[in-house]
Symmetry: C2
């Protein structure tokens, strides 16, 4: 491992959308009726969010957001995490702040005092446990470079960015500022591609990022194929090799593949008895991987991938994207 | 069955506190440190609620409230339910209204436009799956007799009241108004004792109610013992016999006992592989029982009790007090 891990206050700082999830069980027919593409995330405005909420079933609310889920997972594993993201000072904003602070994550981004309310993600879980998401970004659009605290970035071993940020100019500027600061401080930068549609929206930027700015890339099969516009996972694999320091590619039940130059690890997925809800699986994988990476296992990427798989297995075995059982206990039970 | 079931628009109308639950996993030590009595419900004010929320772990939010959970369960079984309770027109009030409306329950009580916010119940689930609750009643205190719509009571086979209502004078008046209206319309009245401390606070009133106004009483072992101030379940059983038409007494894993004059049924509990969270078990039991009772099985109380046990088993096998799997599907799988 490089000097990236020295004198660090945090293992990972995540920058992402600060969102409260509203999860409901829905039928396949519900997705069809609303013209949704299963397994993806779509951005919706206030009017569409109100209409969809009125039409969806009874929900449960819990804090979400891709990078925030990853940092919550890291904290649950015993890691030291920080989060940068924008809520409003409303009821759901207070819920988001409480939940991430309660697990020991440093979250000091000021809440917006006017403008749109705290973001919501309406998540529809179909009987196959797949989740389909519609996000109302709300106060997230207020996130900008001024919210990126240089001292937090400089003292974090890894700065982790979600691709979803790329959907808004100010957030993108925050993203770039953080990446530059991290590298200036000899830290590492990690990116999650987030969603295949998100990749389609920003392919050129993401290709540039991956080639020139990202040390650790997270992507699932659909996302990495979308990035290189290829039809097979193996084709995507050949493209990504050598384009960033490390790529951790998740393949649902098939486990994950980790590339690091000539080094390749193929790590099987954990056995999950009953998959309830896949929301947050990728976020949890990144949590496990980065926890291992920043806690003494940077030279054992297969172990990092295994930790990612264990964390993801916990998340998909219940409803919601944050751990129900402390992940350090889950790992201890699996690995002793 | 009496004439109570004729020409009804609703199977059951529930009157209760309209509450959003905030559930977190906590240790036994957390309960001790906060001076809580495990398994009970305490009322707290705004300041105490803010302090406790700040100290508790990350939560999930879902609609709750004892009678509301029962009506939600009834709807999930395929029954026709109505609910009367008071939220404020704030974010959590909208969540409560959405969730109960989305499952087809008639909920027409006006939201309060000023005063305290929508009620919250901070629920701490310990590793033994027991729940300990602290309720901030908020807008619930605004519920009064004017909120009881006579046409809804008159067209409901059963009016179901939670004992918790007795904690506020106006809600108590609403409770009494509804009971009188129901009986005048030749309908039946059902009461849940809610909580042993609630019984201690209102023992004389509850004894009078049970003797003179209640057709179907729900109580768990601790509550029925508290009502008659006796130490053994059997002693309580002898006291309650003959004091109301029907008493359905729940005993957690031991199942339930149903008394109807000389008729006694002892119905074993359903086997639950892994109890996750007992929040809402009693509410779900009442849902199953009343669904059976108002849907053709009033002459087969053992069947009603079995339905109660099946509904409770679903609720305690996951986090949260409302069904994750539609209860009609759960019943179909169990009973064919």
């Amino acid at each position: 491992m490089s000097g990236a891990g020295e004198n660090a206050r945090f293992d990972v700082v995540g920058i992402g959308n600060a969102i409260v999830d509203v999860l409901s069980h829905e039928t396949e027919d519900f997705l069809t009726r609303h013209g949704m593409t299963k397994g993806t995330m779509a951005l919706i405005d206030t009017a569409a969010a109100d209409k969809l909420y009125a039409d969806m079933g009874a929900g449960i609310e819990c804090s979400g957001g891709s990078a925030a889920n990853t940092i919550a997972g890291l904290a649950s594993l015993g890691g030291k995490g920080a989060f940068i993201g924008k809520v409003k000072d409303d009821t759901l904003g207070k819920v988001f702040r409480h939940d991430i602070s309660a697990i020991g994550v440093h979250f000091a981004t000021d809440a917006a005092t006017d403008g749109a309310p705290t973001a919501r993600c309406l998540i529809h879980v179909t009987p196959d446990a797949e989740r389909t998401m519609n996000t109302y970004l709300g106060a997230c659009v207020e996130l900008g470079p001024h919210d990126v605290d240089p001292s937090v970035i400089r003292t974090s071993k890894v700065t982790y960015l979600e691709g979803y940020l790329w959907d808004k100019e100010d957030a993108k500027a925050a993203f770039v500022k953080a990446a530059v600061l991290a590298h200036e401080a000899n830290r590492e930068v990690s990116l999650s591609l987030s969603d295949p549609f998100c990749v389609d929206r920003h392919r050129d930027s993401f290709l540039d990022l991956v080639e020139n700015h990202v040390d650790i890339l997270f992507a699932n099969e659909d996302e990495i194929k979308a990035l290189y516009q290829v039809d097979s996972f193996d084709d995507a694999l050949q493209h990504v090799r050598g384009h960033c320091k490390i790529a951790a590619l998740t393949r649902s039940a098939k486990g994950s593949v980790v590339i690091n130059g000539d080094e390749v690890h193929i790590v099987d997925g954990e056995l999950v008895k009953h998959v309830v809800d896949t929301t947050g699986a990728g976020d949890a994988y990144a949590a496990g991987f980065l926890f291992g990476y920043t806690n003494g296992h940077a030279d054992d990427l297969a172990h990092c991938a295994r930790l990612g798989g264990i964390a993801a297995a916990e998340i998909i075995s219940h409803f919601g994207a944050r751990p129900e059982t402390p992940l350090n206990e889950v790992v201890a039970a699996k690995l002793g």
